[in-house]
């Protein structure tokens, strides 16, 4: 039996997982309009490659990555581009963002795609490039471009590749269903990622409340008779699926503050990302669909659907017998880390793992002052001091908040849910984090402006000096005896000319005077 470690804090939460795992996954209906935001990932938004009126095929790249941390967007079905404009997106701000809207033609015609014959023949960088072009980002929720995480760098060695199938948040079961139904694809994707990273061992971490998923994957591994890959059931305790928490549980190693798993020889990928990598390499299919859990009270048939990216969330809720109204009682994500959807016209994007209908709002609990009980600090899986962070974030003392490692907070919500005073602690941390990020951006802009202003002053000064130098040179050349001799020569020339003319005139006078005299 392989040893497991323990991360600090954490909570035992009611799972609510059985509701949505009763029926197998079905494909969601093809919507009439697909709305594809240009930004479905962390990083720079993609740049549109199509224009209104273009007919496009399923799997065609419709927006390309712009920059290193970026990912392209592909059409999830065939049809016509009818609009490129601002549409609601699933985002806590409720803001609109640039989207490509496709009217589907119902044909679902694929663009011819090109599978890789044998990925083992490709070097890791070529493999990463295919993964980048397929638009694959982390499907666990953060949406960080996968190809970057598969680049270990020249000087690093990855000894353990972890596949994250923990899925610790209540209600969410999309990874569970994927592991039950497509274990072969996950393992095949794992092999490809292992090749890209040149990693040695692979561990698939799954919470022990998913016995079917554990069995399915273990069976595939047993049938393939591969070594160095094992399934590790881990104790169910939220947030065991957090990247750093899972690494701690499986390897005992801690990712340093401000560090990456890469720095301790570990890379962690989601199971759904592994499937996407497998399909991109083996079939040449870009990322155009994903499993989404639709669950929660108010949904008549909680289940998982395989959804084309860009499908409006409202249609999913309707297909599961929910009552979609825009009252903001639907969350994207789970009950702990999800955020309320402002508009159900917003589409499913690469990071949409769950649509959760919230229970009817309980009477708002009064918020009481912090009594410094310290329960939040016991629940924190990162060993932070939530009450100190709250104190400084509420006072907008961001320097102090950062000195308590605010940015190590994973916003898991454990502290909020245990707070006896009902303080929405995580909201304060989110506020402080975005505020600090904005201030840092301002600072960078101010530094650029200062440099540009100083350069301009320098340039004006230089121009002035150069002009002055030119004047000085001219003046000097006038008074300098060596050159003034040359200048003095000028009057001589004039004088000479005058004399010449006078001489000529005199001569002509002489001749004219003499000629009449001769006559």
């Amino acid at each position: 039996m392989n040893k497991l470690w323990r991360f600090p804090g954490g909570l035992h939460l009611p799972g609510h997982k059985d509701e949505s795992t009763a029926v197998s996954v079905a494909a969601a209906q093809l919507p009439r309009f697909l709305v594809l935001p240009l930004q479905q990932h962390i990083g720079e938004p993609a740049k549109a490659l199509v224009k209104v009126g273009d007919h496009i095929l399923k799997g065609q790249m419709i927006a390309k990555a712009s920059g290193y941390v970026s990912a392209p967007v592909h059409a999830s079905s065939s049809g016509t581009v009818v609009e490129i404009g601002e549409r609601p997106i699933p985002h806590p701000s409720g803001l609109h963002a640039l989207c490509i809207v496709i009217e589907t033609d119902g044909q679902d015609t694929w663009l011819p795609h090109h599978p890789v014959e044998d990925y083992r023949q490709l070097d890791p960088s070529a493999l990463r490039n295919i993964i980048r072009e397929a638009g694959i980002v982390g499907l666990g929720g953060a949406g960080f471009p996968t190809y970057i995480k598969l680049n270990r760098g020249a000087d690093k060695v990855i000894d353990t590749l972890i596949l994250n199938g923990a899925e610790c948040e209540p209600y969410i079961t999309c990874d569970d269903m994927l592991m039950r139904e497509r274990p072969e694809e996950i393992i095949a994707g794992l092999f490809i990622m292992r090749h890209a990273l040149q990693a040695r061992a692979c561990i698939i971490g799954i919470e022990d409340n998913k016995p079917h998923a554990i069995d399915a994957l273990a069976r595939v591994i047993h049938d393939l008779k591969v070594k160095d890959i094992r399934v590790a059931p881990i104790p169910t305790r939220y947030p065991a699926g957090g990247e750093k928490q899972l690494i701690k549980v499986l390897t005992g190693r801690e990712v340093p503050s401000n560090g990456l798993p890469l720095h301790i020889g570990v890379v962690c990928q989601n199971v759904a990302t592994a499937t996407a990598v497998y399909r991109a390499i083996t079939y040449g299919e870009p990322l155009i669909s994903r499993y989404v859990t639709v669950s929660g009270p108010g949904i008549q048939q909680p289940r998982n659907l395989e959804v084309l990216l860009g499908t409006p969330i409202r249609e999913l809720i309707e297909q599961c017998g929910g009552a979609p109204d825009d009252s903001g009682t639907f969350l994207m994500g789970g009950p702990m880390m999800g955020f309320p959807l402002h508009n159900l016209a917003a589409p499913v994007i690469k990071t949409t793992n769950c649509i959760l209908a919230q229970p009817p709002a309980a009477p708002a609990q009064p918020v009481l002052p912090c009594i410094r009980c310290g329960v939040c600090a016991e629940a924190c899986p990162v060993s932070l001091l939530p009450q100190q962070l709250y104190w400084h974030a509420a006072a907008k003392d961001f320097t102090k908040a950062q000195s308590y490692n605010l940015f190590d907070c994973i916003e898991c919500g454990c502290c909020t849910s245990v707070c006896p005073s009902n303080i929405q602690l995580v909201d304060y941390y989110r506020f402080a984090k975005t505020e600090i990020a904005a201030q840092e951006l301002e600072k960078r802009k101010a530094d650029t402006a200062r440099n540009r202003h100083e350069f301009r002053l320098q340039r004006l000064e230089r121009d002035k000096a150069e002009r002055a130098a030119r004047h000085e040179q001219k003046k000097a050349s006038l008074s300098d005896p060596a050159t003034s001799a040359k200048n003095d020569a000028k009057p001589d020339v004039i004088q000479a000319a005058i004399e010449r003319v006078q001489a000529k005139r005199a001569a002509s006078d002489e001749s004219s005077g003499s000629v009449p005299a001769q006559h």
């Binding site: 985002h91 806590p92 701000s93 918020v367 009481l368 002052p369 975005t434 650029t448 202003h453 301009r456």
Partner: protein
Amino acid sequence: MFSAIIALTVLATVSGLLLGYAAIRFKVQGDPLVDKIDAILPQTQCGQCTYPGCRPYATAIANGEADINQCPPGGEATIAALAELLGRDPKPLNAAHGAVKPKMVAVIDETRCIGCTLCIQACPVDAILGAAKHMHTVIAQECTGCELCIPPCPVDCIDMVPIKQTASTWKWPYPQDSGEWRVASSAQ
């Protein structure tokens, strides 16, 4: 007594030499206070403080000639930071220098621009691109929103446009339950 005098003399000489060496070895060029103040100012170079740029204003503050509440683009945050740096009490923005406005960026209406280059000469951060008798344009990323290009324009073709908020620049609002004592007392 004699030994005490010798000891004190030696001590005084040694410390004097040390201080003298330190004064030469660790000499600070320029005025660090001006740099610190300048680092806090928003660098719009707009001149609303009546000084020709952020650094001259910083110098004036350091010399005690200007007050810390003369910078409208910096707003309250800048005043608070200056107050903390200088150990003074924060005070409200002096309305004589202008009001706090949302962040703006200059936009040139290119159909009306006659290519006179006056705005290019006015821009403190070289954020306007163009040449004589050719259309000018603002490099939006470099524009500080100082509005100095507006008065010189003979055809009024420059507009100040508020910077649009996007999902990536959006900030989480301050939590609503912040008035916790008020909420708590109203619940009783």
